[in-house]
């Protein structure tokens, strides 16, 4: 009989992670509530963007739908997460990695949507090129979303 493969179970001390999230909330002058802690933690655990529906599923019935809407809105306002518009009309949210501040986002990176697995990626190192607009048009925000097949579904 062959030996079973060795499995290393690494447990990350929750206290550390929670503290981390707490610090971020404090830094942004937000009161520490269960919903904000848990939802922000979800973003740190996920490696892709989350929709409102995703969060609703992941949190079960811990929180009311309205609370999730308001929490996401707050995070966007504070520059903690940014929104990603999609062609199918369902906004996703992802952590801001650039130093975004209250009311001012700097996430000028490209977003990728996989048609296969549905994942939304922040391509943090792919920046949006400058676009020359016709006379009279003044640019404030630019969203570049590419869809196709991701590296996992390749």
């Amino acid at each position: 009989m062959r030996a079973l493969p060795m499995v290393y179970l690494i447990t990350i001390p929750e206290l550390l992670m929670v503290t981390n999230v707490k610090e971020i909330l404090k830094k942004n002058q937000l009161s520490i509530t269960e919903s904000r802690r848990k939802i922000l933690q979800l973003f740190y655990n996920a490696n892709d963007a989350l929709s409102h529906a995703d969060i609703e599923k992941l949190t079960g019935d811990d929180f009311d739908r309205v609370t999730i809407y308001r929490t996401l809105q707050t995070f966007v306002e504070k520059g903690i997460v940014h929104t990603i518009p999609t062609a199918d009309n369902s906004v996703r949210y992802a952590l801001c990695k650039d130093n975004c501040t209250e009311g001012h986002h700097h996430d000028n990176h490209v977003h990728f949507l996989c048609d296969e697995c549905g994942k939304t990626y922040c391509l943090d190192h792919v920046t949006i090129p400058d676009i020359q607009l016709p006379k009279g048009f003044h640019q404030k925000q630019t969203d570049l979303v590419i869809s196709g097949v991701c590296k996992n579904c390749d």
Copy 2:
């Protein structure tokens, strides 16, 4: 008393325009119905993109909401109009000017959304630059939407 300003009223013969729209429907192997004719005509009259809500207002209660949804869906499938994703999660539709065919769109131009007047422009002459994606990612569709202040609201 000053003379009133001269007003030139130009009436465009409806028959001509309708025929034009009819031809486009025929070319796309779609049966000529009142809703398709009227909605397609709306797009030819408008110089900016239209949302489902816009069309609902413009057509009054001529058609059911569901018919408008289905008509737009058909137009998109046939390559007559293309969708424009927006940050506020409301899809707009605009005529395809490139030679798009059934199931294959080629509208790789930039879209502009005015924060002031809410208009959506197809910047047909501003093309989306090529984006170099990380290994393993395969590009199918690209949407570049810029928001700000348009030339009219400047």
